[in-house]
């Protein structure tokens, strides 16, 4: 046996050597004239292309870079990785390849850096293909309108701001307010929804990323998720390419006709990294010192999110970019840019957060321009009425703060509104199945919760769901399969919920 395997290995090596062919070709080379802050100025390289890969031969080994500036007799190169080994006079060879990342099924469940190299301490990723990180977005002919939902599992989003497959929905808000939590809950809820997920962390603390990966693993979400990490300590060149390389990895699944969800967390740090590179490349600064093409920076990235039609595979890329505002200022440069690019935004508000409404989604300022075409029929039926109730409540609540004597109709609306606000509260890492959401909303808009005390609503919600799972599972099954809430089932649902209420002792008489 031992002898056998030795022979086998020797044979393998022999074969590899005989297969190996090396051809000698003429390459374009240059010399480093200037180096500093991760930007190298290289003379020569007369045939360099934009965003071509450059190989620096240093004493510490090979280092790669990307061409970002083409000048009359030099090129500006950003160094990807450790630039401390590069000296003035070092050789730089152009590789005649546009910057690419490895893609394939092998990246699922892995944590990689923006160059596609595994950083989770597991084995090397088997490379199937390389995709260029910059690609022109799919054209009009290949697309179709968004018609399938992404179930985020967050009640207020699925009901009032539905997100469809192929949509770009911005998550915007101040720091520490639950922006990442929404994205992570959405990823966790994609289990069994036939969706691949890519989470791109741009300039995040490594400790936060480690926490997120652990949480995803615990929830079993790493089976369909890839995490692309450009941490806070990585050079800004890696932060700059991270979302594009994440998108290239998503495009591999898109080309196979699959649905992909990609989260860019967050694009404000991406813009800051690009500003740093641009200023070091001596490009003229504009508003807030961002370069002139900062709009194109994000628009070309987000335009790659799409829903392809059947002739082109029918896949989709749904993008959830995240933007961090400073003290709630949505009219700053980057937030306004990204708001105008995306198909809607989820706005998180500090006031709601501190009042205890979590997720702190401001339903008035949040919109989804794709709208109810991204909802299943059953959800459409209940959500329309709910949205109306919520809007009426917001108006009345502001008004009722001053008055004391209110007519019965108004009082009723206010009471129901309070209960609505209560059921929209949801814990972190507790995404809810769409069928269960429908049942809860159904019981609210039909007044089945009107005699449950407000402070007991969450307890009632949890209890009724357990009861329904045992006694009306066929309704859930029907909603999941045919996506419709039929009238016969509506009656049954009312009956079962009333049965459950008969067992309670805290109802208002």
């Amino acid at each position: 046996m031992e002898n056998n395997s030795k022979d086998f290995i020797v044979e393998q090596i022999r074969q590899r050597i005989s297969e190996f062919k090396s051809e000698i070709k003429e390459q374009n080379f240059g010399k480093v004239v200037e180096i500093g802050d991760g930007i190298a100025k290289v003379s020569g390289l007369s045939e360099a292309m934009m965003s071509e890969m450059i190989e620096f031969k240093t004493e510490k080994g090979l280092v790669y870079g990307v061409v970002l500036n083409l000048e009359e007799d030099s090129v500006g190169v950003v160094v990807l990785g450790d630039h401390s080994g590069i000296k003035e006079g070092d050789e730089a060879v152009s590789l005649k390849r546009i910057l690419e990342v490895p893609v394939g099924d092998g990246i699922i469940g892995r944590v990689v850096n923006p160059l596609g190299i595994a950083i989770d301490g597991k084995e090397n990723i088997k490379v199937e293909k390389f995709y260029p990180i910059e690609k022109i977005a799919p054209g009009v002919i290949t697309r179709e309108s968004v018609n399938e939902p992404v179930q985020t599992g967050i009640k207020s989003i699925d009901a009032m701001i539905p997100v469809g497959r192929g949509q770009r929905e911005l998550i915007i808000g101040d720091r520490q307010i639950g922006k990442t939590a929404i994205a992570i809950d959405t990823i966790i809820n994609q289990k069994g929804q036939n969706m691949k997920c890519i989470y791109v962390a741009i300039g995040q603390k490594e400790s936060k990323i480690a926490g997120i990966v652990a949480k995803l693993q615990e929830a079993g979400a790493m089976e369909y998720t890839t995490v692309v990490v450009a941490g806070a300590s990585d050079p800004s060149s890696l932060l700059y390419i991270a979302p594009y390389s994440g998108c290239a990895m998503a495009e591999y699944f898109l080309d196979k006709g699959e649905d992909v969800l990609i989260v860019y967390d967050d694009l404000s740090k991406h813009a800051v990294a690009y500003r740093e590179i641009s200023l070091l490349l001596k490009r003229p600064p504009g508003r807030e010192a961002y370069p002139g093409d900062v709009f194109y920076l994000h628009s070309r990235l987000l335009e790659r999110a799409c829903k392809l039609n059947k002739d082109f595979g029918g896949g989709s890329i749904t993008a959830l970019p995240i933007i961090e505002t400073q003290a709630g200022d949505v009219s700053a440069y980057i937030p306004t840019n990204v708001i105008s690019i995306t198909d809607g935004q989820i706005y998180l508000e500090p006031d709601l957060f501190y009042q205890g409404n979590r997720p702190a989604i401001n339903a008035g300022l949040s919109v989804s321009r794709v709208g109810s075409s991204a909802q299943i029929k059953a959800m459409k039926k209940v959500a329309g009425k709910m949205r109306l109730e919520a809007a009426q409540y917001r108006e009345l609540a502001a008004f009722a703060q001053f008055g004391s004597d209110l007519d019965d109709e108004t009082k009723k609306k206010l009471e129901r509104g309070k209960r609505l606000m209560e059921i929209l509260k949801q814990g972190q890492y507790e995404p809810m199945d769409v069928a269960e959401q429908v049942a809860i909303f159904f019981s609210l808009i039909n007044g089945l919760m009107d005699n449950v005390p407000v402070e007991k609503i969450r307890e009632f919600e949890a209890g009724v769901l357990i009861y329904l799972r045992d006694n009306a599972n066929d309704i859930f099954k029907a909603i999941r399969e045919v996506k419709v809430l039929e009238e016969a089932n509506e009656e049954k649902l009312i009956k079962v919920i009333n049965d459950y209420k008969d067992t309670l002792d805290y109802l208002i008489k």
Binding site: S22, I24, Q27, F29, S46, D73, E91, V127
Partner: protein, 133 residues
């Protein structure tokens, strides 16, 4: 407008071109005087660099550097010169030879901003990379 090193080099080159040798030293003297007046003497290195470039371009000169592990055989040198004249369309090729034991075997030719790496070291590295993957 400020005059850059490249423009100085161009001016000097067009002045010197086709002049008799006896005029040249006085032209250079004047040139240095102008540089002194413009406070641009520190740019001398750059000006010489660009001047060299222009000179080589005008007279079809190519400077090539051959890095080789052992002493070069005249046969090989002739072949390389022939190849370089063919692809670079140069009239004259200046060859600088350098011995570099680290290459193990083979040679590396550099001319203008092109590099031809036919060293054994490069081959071994490529083979190593193909084995790793």
């Amino acid at each position: 407008m400020k005059i850059v090193a490249k423009q100085y080099a161009q001016a000097l080159f067009s002045e010197i071109k086709d002049r008799a040798e006896k005029d040249i030293s006085s032209i250079i003297n004047n040139f240095v005087e102008i540089l002194k007046k413009d406070n641009c003497l520190s740019q001398m290195e750059k000006i010489i660099f660009y001047f060299n470039d222009l000179w080589k371009k005008e007279y079809f000169l190519v400077e090539a550097e051959i890095n080789i592990a052992r002493k070069i055989e005249p046969e090989l040198k002739k072949e390389i010169v022939q190849y370089l004249t063919k692809i670079s369309q140069a009239k004259k090729i200046n060859i600088i030879e350098k011995e570099n034991k680290k290459l193990v075997g083979g040679f590396v030719v550099k001319y203008n901003d092109k590099i031809i790496d036919a060293s054994v070291k490069n081959k071994i590295n490529k083979f190593k990379n193909s084995l790793i993957q």
